[in-house]
């Protein structure tokens, strides 16, 4: 395989999910030269983009981090997020003080600190007071209005009217509204349908493409004269918008992105660290003073700090024991790879001081009660602080 000349940088960040990008923003904006190496879809991109911070102390301890750091970590993340989330195609709302309630595509309620603004404007109180309707798109599984109606009624007592529309044709992902640099496609048919619905608030599945997300919804709201709420749905848009926002902010801060390259090997040497990566048919080397490793996606499996594929990163947890009574199952799903073994193995190794690990297992998915994205961001910050000290 053909080898391309080595790329020099100060810090190489492995993984371009929420953790890696957030760390890249922090480091690049304090003047460090950062290169991002990432491969495929990070699990945070599959998330609903809601960021929650933990309230229990046990959680911090599970990560093996000291209390002092954790005290102000959430504040710093708070500032960091506000800096980042205004950049992207979609704005986020919320603070770490106030937890807001969101409605999922089933009508269940989840609580979070930050959420994409389109869906975050409608908390339970708004839902309780308003005349609610749910509109599902035929052929699209993101929002099933009948189930939404049943669930919402059984969870909150709110009666929502529900209907299906065939307005969006049998192609679930072809949006009628598509924002591309301010150019709006026709959405007459859908807005007509929405106008005909007798409700103050209409729940819709997400249907905008990447980019222009927030504006597209606001525009449509303006046209139909109703509040529209994008229901929270898994593996859908908000997580992507979040990662997009982070990505843009990272590039703006001056980080370089080699997205699409796959880390194969890490060489730890006396004065530097070399990441050997694969870019399609070719090999690229990145030489850096420090490495921040954020490739720990427990669902997909990640890479360990030697760059080996970890097919089953959670194997060190005895899940069965967890199911039988101990808290291992929760531990595994909440704090994941960043906790325990990884941090410890990194700290123990004498030559490992050039590699730091941050992130969370399943960050994208356990946002509601697992603080997945919150874990990502706080561990990223902790790692950035350590890197700055070392440099």
């Amino acid at each position: 395989m053909r080898e391309l000349p080595a790329i020099e940088t100060e810090v190489v960040v492995i993984g371009h999910g929420a953790t890696g990008l957030f760390a890249a923003i922090e480091l690049a904006s304090t003047g460090h030269k950062v290169l991002l190496v990432g491969n495929g879809t990070p699990s945070s991109e599959m998330s609903t983009g809601c960021i929650s911070f933990p309230e229990e102390e046990t959680w911090w301890r599970g990560l093996g981090l000291d209390d002092g750091l954790m005290q102000d970590a959430s504040d710093r993340v708070d500032q960091g997020i506000q800096k980042v989330l205004t950049v992207g195609p979609c704005t986020w709302e919320g603070t770490s003080e106030k937890r807001m309630a969101l409605v999922t595509n089933l009508g269940t309620i989840i609580r979070t600190n930050y959420a994409p603004s389109t869906s975050s404007r409608h908390d339970v109180i708004a839902v309780r007071g308003a005349k609610v309707a749910a509109l599902g798109f035929q052929g699209n599984k993101d929002l099933d209005p009948c189930l939404f109606h049943n669930m919402l009624r059984s969870e909150t007592g709110v009666e929502a009217s529900s209907s299906w529309t065939a307005t969006l044709p049998a192609e679930p992902h072809r949006p009628h509204i598509e924002m591309n640099h301010g150019v709006r496609h026709s959405h007459d048919a859908l807005s007509e349908e929405l106008q005909g619905i007798d409700a103050d608030l209409v729940m819709l599945p997400p249907f905008t493409q990447r980019g222009g997300h927030d504006r597209a919804w606001r525009d449509l709201e303006g046209v139909v004269g109703k509040r529209l709420c994008e229901v929270i749905t898994p593996l859908s848009l908000p997580g992507r918008s979040l990662v997009d926002s982070f990505g843009r902010a990272a590039l703006e801060a001056g980080a370089r992105d080699l997205n699409g390259t796959h880390l194969e090997m890490i060489d730890l040497r006396d004065d530097d660290v070399i990441a050997r990566c694969r870019s399609g048919l070719r090999r690229v080397q990145v030489r850096a003073a420090m490495m921040l490793f954020c490739g720990g996606n427990a669902v997909g499996g990640g890479l360990d700090i030697l760059g080996r594929d970890v097919i089953d990163p959670l194997s060190f947890f005895d899940i069965r024991k967890g199911a039988a009574g101990s808290s291992n199952f929760d531990m595994a799903s909440h704090s994941g790879i960043a906790c325990d073994s990884y941090f410890r193995s990194v700290r123990k190794g004498t030559r490992m001081d050039k590699v730091l690990v941050a992130g969370a297992a399943l960050p994208g998915l356990n946002f509601a009660n697992g603080y997945g994205l919150g874990t990502c961001l706080t561990t990223a910050l902790a790692a950035c602080r350590a890197i700055e000290e070392a440099l």
Partner: protein
Amino acid sequence: MRIDVLIIGGGTTGAGIARDMAMRGASVMLLEKGDFSGGASGGNHGLLHSGARYVVRDQESARECAQECEVLRNIAWHCIEDLGGLFIRLKNDDGNYVDRFEAGCHDSSVPAERLTRKEVLEFEPMLSAQVEEGFQVRDASIDPFQLVLANIQSARALGAIVHNHSPVIEMVREEERIVEVRFKDRRNGQISTIKPELVVNAAGAWSDEVAKMAGCHVDLSKDCGALLVMSGRLVNTLVNRLRPPSDGDIVVPNRTSMVIGTTSRSIQDPRSAKVGDDDVKLLMREAVQMVPKLAECRPIRAYASVRPLVRNQGESRRASRSYQIYEHTDDGLDNFFSIVGGKLTTYRSMAEHLSDLLAGELGTTDPCRTAVEPLVERGEDISDLGLQALPTLQLQRRYGQLPEGMRERAMGTTSARSIACSCEQVTRFELDHFAVKEDVIDLSDLMRRTRAGMGYCQGTGCSIAMLSALGNKGGSPREAMSRFLCDRHRGIAPVLQGDQLRQEMFRADLLKGVYGFSIGEERCR
């Protein structure tokens, strides 16, 4: 309301008797305490025996299987995948058994063709290189859920009254007769009383309890067998080990998975059937000897069920799989019959045997027609539904012919024709169709009828579609979901490792985090 025959138990035997008697013109009622095929009928490999497995030890069973498997190929064509079977001898297996096997096949008229090592491996390249020789037999895989449902469907069409989720709570005996039977409908808690002419106890592993209710006794040995489901198909033939029947010596490719069976352990209470860690290890260890690549396969789940066996001397594995009919005359009863034992493959002939007896009691002279009339007619064209070829094929394989009313649902909306469960290629209209039926009260019922949720992801996405189809049934949607997840989790827990662990983490977090459902691990403890 006059009831000629009341059948207790909705497994293969009960459903078979219901159909048989209904065909002979009797007025039939069947009561099942849970859902159909909830016991051993649904908890086996889905192996249609050619009889070869029994040729050395139990030639009577072998002969019976050899006949019945051909009958079922004809009448239950839609739920059988006619893959054929192999019996393979591995290097260290006893060579003498081969000759006894061959002789046994000959004596019991079980067709078997001897294959050389090379021929075996050409047939199934994934088999172990340790194969020495083998036999090709007429085994097939069968979907036991659909088999029972088709029998019920057919019985209902002939006027039989069939209730699931309706346990019998009391039998009133007057002298030599059961005069009244009371049952409770779990859907509404209503208790009804019926006065049947004849009562049949076909409650499988629970038949001793039912007999006790009638004040009599059934001698039953209960044998718990664990099975392991592996994802995908490495072999497309049923693979048996050519040695005296033992643990973990069968691999059955069925639908989208392979089932490794079984273990054998005697137990007292059928409710306590469960898979242990040792069972999983044992099954894997044994099966890997035949198909080494199984070690790299992803286990989906494990389950255990209780075989009701006729009690005779010796341990369970050697107990005869043949059945026994009790007329309970010794217990002083005239109109109560129990049928225990038997196997899936011979369910029909068992039903015929008992039905002949019942018909005699009722004075009916109509002969049994279950061996010649197919459960489902052939030849319906469903290509006009506009589905893709793969789901169309699966639809045909599940039902043979679309159940009444399903076509209309399919033609309804585009959404109805979308795929709700991609593991098993189940369409949304199937869910909608069954969800409104009285038989279906929760997600597991829906799963047994459509197979949605039986794939390797164990309901990661399709559980939502099922919940939506179910509507207001089963109380609060959250409760219904929790019950289902708990039920699935019980099967997944013994195999939580590797990919299935990742899957479960993903499923737990998806459902917990995004939908607010708990996967139910707390409940399952």
